[in-house]
């Protein structure tokens, strides 16, 4: 029987109190964004944010708890924008959204950073100490190497395949420093929005596999903003080393995604992006459950180890009350399905 798991890849909106305190402490300009050597006061604020995120997820009843990534000023580009081998350029648009991040220009060889591992250690400690944490496990989040390479500017490696491989090696090194985690989400929106050129699919899937191989945890490769191209989908199922592909069933044409699964099979588990991360309309748990059942009914011959119920994008797009409501909807939907 398929296990249903309520989870998110993190990247939550800052609580409103932290939006104010952090903007007072840090400022509003490009040069004021996080550099990785923040003051004690800022570290303290983020510690409180992290604790609030863990509580939010436990209160909602999620099966997997993320660190929440409140520090990720540059969204999934964060692991690079803080890196010593990276200079940040201008502010550039984040996918097709009214959101912007600092362009990370990689100007030197990408060595080990440890920044994400450090924040994950703290989340792990919080989870261990929390009441009611017995049923929840830690999920780590990183950008997928393909998307991170697409979001960055290469001024060091000179070759696209080499750049993707270097980013993958860097991310794999980060994963090796992570505390114990049950699941690793690799966030890969660019696979849909800027897919690899025909014939270049394996470069991307090899890069993802490099990161996936660095952990014993289940790896979810989370895509967003619509359906994957057929050929790329097939490559990802076979070559990316993922335990689950994450599919967006909210944006774009979900029939295309169903077709991909019918035609090319699937990973042992699947993550279904069935709650809209970019709309304040909160889905009823019954609606979410129906969407899962509808999807599973389209592919009656597949039996999945796990189905992850997730939002289709990160949740930082939402006001905080709606982000919490979405967590609740996901957790409640797994109850309905049980």
């Amino acid at each position: 029987m398929t296990e249903r798991v309520a989870a998110t890849p993190g990247l939550y909106p800052l609580p409103d109190w932290a939006k104010e305190t952090l903007s007072d402490l840090k400022g509003h300009q490009k040069g004021d964004l996080l550099s990785g050597d923040e003051s004690e006061a800022i570290v303290g604020e983020y510690a409180e944010v992290r604790a609030e995120y863990v509580d939010d997820q436990l209160d909602a009843g999620l099966d997997l708890v993320t660190e929440g990534q409140g520090r990720w000023d540059d969204m999934i580009a964060h692991p690079l924008t803080l890196h010593d081998a990276v200079e940040t350029g201008g502010i550039v648009r984040y996918y097709d959204n009214n959101n912007f991040y600092r362009d990370p220009r990689v100007v030197d060889d990408l060595g080990f950073s440890g920044d994400v591992a450090r924040e994950l250690e703290r989340a792990s400690d919080l989870l261990a100490d929390a009441d009611g944490a017995a049923d929840a496990s830690l999920a780590a989040t990183l950008p997928g190497p393909y998307s991170l390479a697409r979001l960055a500017t290469d001024e060091q490696y000179g070759d696209e395949a080499e750049f993707q491989a270097a980013i993958a090696e860097f991310l794999a090194g980060e994963v090796e420093a992570f505390p114990a985690h049950e699941t690793l989400f690799l966030v890969e929106p660019s696979l849909v929005t800027n897919p690899p050129a025909e014939g270049e699919e394996s470069t991307a899937t090899d890069a993802i596999a490099t990161v996936a191989d660095a952990t014993d945890a289940d790896v979810v490769v989370q895509t967003s903003y619509g359906a994957l191209g057929e050929k790329l989908y097939a490559h990802l199922v076979d070559e990316a080393g993922a335990d689950a592909l994450g599919l967006d069933l909210v944006a774009g044409d979900r029939d295309d995604t169903v077709y991909n699964v019918q035609e090319f099979g699937a990973t042992d588990s699947l993550a279904l992006g069935i709650v809209d991360g970019q709309n304040t309309l909160v889905e009823e748990p019954e609606t979410v459950a129906e969407r899962v059942e509808w999807f599973e009914s389209q592919i009656p011959n597949e039996a999945f180890d796990r189905t992850y119920l997730t939002p289709n994008t990160e949740l930082f797009y939402l006001p905080t009350n709606k982000y919490r409501a979405k967590l609740n909807a996901l957790a409640a939907a797994t109850e309905v399905l049980d």
């Binding site: 939006k19 903007s23 840090k26 490009k30 502010i91 006001p319």
Partner: protein, 357 residues
């Protein structure tokens, strides 16, 4: 198709205009708020303060009077109150339209947030949005008053859509409301309306939706009313020449920021509405010299003849220090009047306006 800008342009020419040539000078709208007004906006929310809503209204009136006169002192042919009563371009209108609700701020970038509203039911027109504002400003102004309104495409796409099957349908409903507001403004005496659609720049592939929305806005509006469209920070090759089909009198864009690299886009085919050209940068704190602004104005003459050229800053000036905003506006008007005199004197080759530059 474009409206008939020649039918409404002359009413903005001041009686004492010194030159034969007339380049209409205007502003996009927003202007730095005096610091005391920001304090007043905060004070009214402080439960310990005696400063109440009617005090705030008085403060807003004072600020609108002040900035309208500041625009007149700079010599502008048409003026705006600097949008002193408005907080943010979507929030202000969403607050006044039934069907929107606010849930809290969302991130734009870094620690910059925007109170992005949600449309939770069909949008409806309740009280007029801008008629009081217009009547006040027109009452204190010597010069004609322009009214900037955030356009329906931006009001729709910069909100969460919970209620409509598609955001396109929401945009058309909003366009009908904007049309109702424009009718009321016209009834109150407004003759210069500017629809602001910055969201078009981020999704130029939606130009047909903006076009249909403008058709609804302009429906039934007489030709003596000038309707402008302001867009900023876009790639205009992706919306041109489709712009020529829009029912507008004037197309207002920010080309100073990009050093006029996009001017050739507009040269072929001929631009049908008048061009309102940004000639000072809204995001640099240095006041451009009159000579530099004159060079920028000549760029506009590559696209349209003088009688179809309007001159404005790139965008709203509200993020600048106030003295810089004033300096830019004043130099802009000086440059406009000097260029007009040079045109009168035959010193500018209108077929090759950059010739002796």
């Amino acid at each position: 198709m474009a409206r008939n800008p020649a039918a409404n342009r002359d009413q903005f020419r001041p009686d004492d205009h010194p030159n034969d040539a007339f380049l209409l000078s205007t502003v996009v709208g927003s202007y730095p708020k005096p610091k005391w007004l920001n304090r007043a906006d905060e004070l009214v929310d402080d439960p310990d303060s005696k400063f109440d809503a009617s005090d705030l209204e008085e403060a807003h009136d004072d600020a609108c009077r002040l900035i309208t006169h500041e625009h007149e002192r700079a010599g502008l042919d048409t003026v705006v109150d600097g949008e002193m009563r408005r907080n943010e371009m979507v929030e202000f209108f969403a607050d006044r339209i039934d069907g929107y609700e606010f849930n809290g701020p969302v991130k734009v970038w870094g620690h910059n947030y925007f109170d992005k509203p949600s449309v939770v039911e069909e949008v409806e027109y309740d009280e007029p949005w801008l008629v009081d504002e217009f009547e006040f400003t027109a009452g204190v102004a010597e010069r004609p008053v322009k009214v900037p309104i955030t356009g329906p495409y931006t009001l729709g796409f910069w909100a969460f859509n919970e209620a409509y099957p598609s955001t396109e349908e929401l945009v058309y409903d909003l366009a009908d409301l904007v049309n109702e507001e424009v009718e009321k403004l016209v009834e109150a005496g407004a003759r210069y309306i500017q629809i602001d659609e910055p969201a078009l720049a981020t999704t130029p592939e939606d130009h047909a939706i903006v076009g249909e929305a403008l058709e609804r806005i302009a429906a039934g509006i007489p030709e003596e009313v000038r309707i402008g469209l302001h867009v900023c920070y876009g790639d205009y090759s992706r919306v041109y020449p489709e712009i020529n089909d829009y029912p507008i009198d004037e197309f207002d864009i920010e080309l100073s920021n990009g050093d006029y690299e996009q001017i050739p886009v507009l040269e072929e085919p001929e631009l049908e509405p008048d061009l309102a050209l940004g000639v000072v940068d809204a995001h640099t704190a240095e006041v451009e010299s009159v000579a530099e602004i004159k060079r920028n104005i000549r760029q506009g003459l590559r696209v349209v003849p003088p009688e179809k050229l309007t001159i404005s800053p790139d965008c709203g000036l509200k993020l600048l220090p106030r003295e810089v905003a004033y300096g830019k506006t004043e130099n802009m008007v000086t440059a406009v009047r000097e260029i007009e005199a040079e045109i009168d004197a035959g010193e500018i080759d209108l077929d090759d306006p950059l010739a002796d530059d």
